[in-house]
């Protein structure tokens, strides 16, 4: 990046001198070929896959482009992007998680690439629905999906067999199984609830499962108070009444729920397909643990299909950045990336690859692709769900608010977030 910046600085200075015209063409070519790319591949596995698998492949296919990758942790991504937008120093291209689309689009961080996508030779490889999460209300497209995060459930197959319980398909069955498998004396809990950072994701799921989606099918936003109360009461009740979640649940984030499951302290866990590999390193896949689609709630069966797309975030090198966006759609790249990380390809063509379809462990994910729904997508949702919904839910968990009070706060703040 710094060399690229210098080159740009040199170029700007050079442009001021008409006499250096002879030099300009070479500088220009170098300029066009250098792009920077922001991403959130900060986990060991994915970062390695990017730098050791995808980037070398890209370098081979596009030797004229020098790609400068910049890892940015998820927790700081929006802060850095915000600063870059305000000060007009955005990167050339960036990863675009579907949950962030609404906010980034609203702040004008993304470049319209509708024409490029429509004339792309691989457009046919992608189901139309794949682009839904990066398309605005006027039908303009802003990203190319690279891979998917499919919500599903991990469960302790051996414990279920030992207790003679069938794997749950509904939330009530799940609750019953959790109660049966909870044995604090053995240090076992039925459900690894994510009550801290990241837990807002499942709050959104539960609300929708009980018939109170934050964003309705027609795009309108708002909660159904009674159903939302029922949802929060049921979900928090797993911890407060049924006591099937570890005591630490209100402070359990990604790391804690994973460690509890890996060390045999919880029987069921909600997460996406991306953590299959790391769990397999601790527990035996197919013997000790297996995977299931998300259980159905009283009103709906909700599992999110989140896509990580790539977007052009700066016009200056749009042509070069487009090469990078497209590259992730190559089936070879997508499957190599899946091999390295376990992330599902977004390309429909790649997802139908024999290696995925024939693997029984992936069957629940393939099933989920059929009924999965996108994340709510409107400006303010991410902030509301993290700052308001999660905090309100935690208050029910620790007993400082009732489900009614928590939902009333969610409704009031949601109203403020969108108006």
């Amino acid at each position: 990046m710094s060399t690229a910046m210098n080159r740009r600085a040199v170029l700007k200075a050079g442009a001021a001198f008409a006499g250096t015209a002879a030099l300009a063409p070479t500088t220009l070519r170098a300029e066009r070929a250098a792009i920077n790319y922001w991403h959130t591949f900060t986990g060991q596995l994915e970062f390695g896959a990017l730098t050791n698998t995808v980037m070398p492949m890209f370098a081979k296919a596009h030797p004229e482009v020098s790609l400068e990758q910049e890892p940015i942790p998820n927790s700081e991504f929006m802060a850095k992007m915000t600063a870059a937008v305000v000060s007009d120093s955005k990167p050339d291209t960036s990863m675009l998680a579907s949950e962030r689309f609404a906010d980034l689009h609203a702040m004008g961080a993304l470049t319209d690439i509708t024409d490029r996508v429509e004339s792309w030779e691989r457009r046919g490889d992608f189901d139309d629905s794949r682009f839904a999460s990066v398309t605005d209300s006027e039908g303009r497209i802003y990203g190319v999906p690279a891979f998917a995060f499919v919500d599903w459930m991990y469960y302790r197959k051996d414990w279920f067999e030992e207790a003679g319980i069938a794997p749950p398909t509904t939330m009530e069955e799940m609750r019953a199984a959790a109660i049966a498998l909870t044995d604090p004396a053995k240090g076992r809990y039925g459900f690894g609830m994510r009550g801290a950072a990241g837990g807002q994701h499942y709050i959104g799921n539960i609300l929708e499962s009980f018939g109170s989606p934050v964003q309705r099918a027609d795009g309108s936003v708002g909660l159904d108070r009674d159903k939302a109360i029922e949802a929060m009461d049921w979900y928090a009740g797993l911890y407060t009444r049924d006591k099937v979640a570890p005591e630490s649940a209100p402070n359990d984030g990604f790391r804690q729920i994973m460690e509890a499951f890996k060390t045999g302290q919880t029987a069921m866990l909600w997460h996406h397909t991306g953590s299959l590999r790391s769990i397999s390193e601790h527990l035996e896949l197919g013997e000790e643990f297996a995977t299931l689609p998300m259980p159905a709630g009283p009103a709906a069966r909700v599992a999110r299909l989140g896509y990580a797309s790539h977007a052009i975030t700066n016009e200056r090198n749009a042509d070069t950045a487009w090469e990078w966006l497209k590259f992730w759609g190559e089936p070879d790249v997508a499957v190599a990336f899946l091999d390295a990380t376990g992330y599902f390809p977004a390309s429909t063509a790649a997802a139908n690859d024999e290696r995925i379809v024939s693997n029984p462990i992936y069957a629940p994910a393939v099933e989920t692709l059929g009924f999965g729904v996108p994340h709510p997508s409107f400006p303010g949702y991410a902030g509301w769900s993290e700052n308001v919904a999660l905090a309100a839910f935690q208050q029910i968990l620790i007993g400082s608010a009732t489900a009614e009070q928590a939902v009333d706060e969610m409704i009031a703040e949601l109203d403020r977030a969108i108006n």
Partner: protein, 319 residues
């Protein structure tokens, strides 16, 4: 050292270059009545250059509508709208309350530990140097690292602290420290105190070294006990050092959300939500820069009032 050799050189060369020597003309300048202002000029210029614009910008924001994700609302002035909202914002008042508890208890604990450690180190017993290094070590750990290491040690599943407490019989079973509001705040304060009390130790220690020993000798001859020596000599002599340390720490604690962000993220249920965290979330999670700016201005004013009152009360400025 350099300076003194230059002065010697100067004298030897018979002052021929005296007129050009900065020590000479600056020395003359130093006798003028503007000298102190000249001494202040470089640092003041530096601060104005770096701070003035960002600060004014922040104040300006607090009177504007500025929601990054709502360009349709524009960025016009909205007067005191954000400030009016603060008055009725329950989260703000909760954060203010939490901030006061967080800051007060942390400072008290840090000061007491820091003072005790400094007094003990100041006795210059054999081995002091080793103890000093060990005691000052926590402060050197970046917040990021300290926060994560403590969260590992306090973990409710594999935390060594739980294991030790269970083994010595203080706990029946592993405890999830960050789950109840009281233990979450209490634990965070202990971690903060662990991390920052060396700040007080080092400052007070350096201050102690500056107190002339004669004072203590005189007091001993008068038969003053150790405690009254502390009360009558040590603490008064350290007044400015302590006052400066307290103010600086308070500002640091109020303004920096790092440690709480890692340990609790403000939870559970906002029970460790402090103002700095709230302002950060408002600006970078809700992208509401106007309201975030107003929160920052209010924090700033609270700190100003505190500093003003504290300086008045502790009379730092009267020698």
């Amino acid at each position: 050292m350099e300076f003194s050799s230059r002065i010697d050189l100067d004298r030897r060369s018979g002052g021929r270059w005296a007129a050009l020597n900065p020590l000479t003309w600056l020395g003359e300048l130093s006798e003028t009545r503007y000298w102190m202002y000249l001494l202040l000029l470089p640092s003041a210029a530096m601060l104005v250059a770096v701070v003035l614009y960002p600060t004014l910008y922040g104040f300006d924001l607090s009177f504007r509508q500025y929601r990054l994700t709502r360009p349709d609302l524009g960025t016009g002035y909205v007067g005191l709208m954000h400030y009016k909202r603060i008055l009725t914002d329950a989260v703000f008042w909760l954060s203010l309350y939490n901030t006061m508890i967080w800051v007060t208890l942390s400072i008290v604990l840090e000061f007491l530990l820091g003072l005790l450690a400094a007094l003990a180190l100041h006795r210059n017993l054999p081995g002091t140097r080793v103890f000093a290094v060990m005691i000052l070590l926590p402060f050197f750990l970046p917040n990021v690292v300290a926060g994560h290491m403590w969260s590992l040690m306090l973990d409710s599943r594999m935390g060594v602290i739980n294991d030790v407490l269970v083994n010595i019989g203080l706990l029946d079973s592993y405890k999830a420290w960050f789950v109840s509001p009281v233990t979450a705040m209490g634990t965070a304060i202990i971690v903060e105190a662990w991390h920052s009390f060396p700040f007080f130790t080092l400052l007070i220690l350096a201050g102690l070294k500056g107190i002339p020993q004669d004072l203590y000798k005189a007091a001993q001859i008068d038969g003053a006990s150790g405690f009254s020596q502390l009360r009558l000599i040590t603490l008064p002599m350290l007044k400015t050092v302590i006052a400066a340390a307290v103010i600086l720490r308070v500002i640091g604690l109020v303004n920096s959300p790092d440690l709480l962000l890692i340990l609790t993220g403000g939870g559970p249920g906002r029970s460790t939500q402090v103002l700095s965290l709230y302002a950060f979330q408002t600006a970078y999670r809700d992208f509401n820069f106007g309201y975030g700016g107003a929160l920052a201005v209010v924090m700033f004013l609270i700190l100003m009032i505190f500093a003003w009152a504290y300086i008045r009360i502790s009379k730092v400025n009267r020698d």
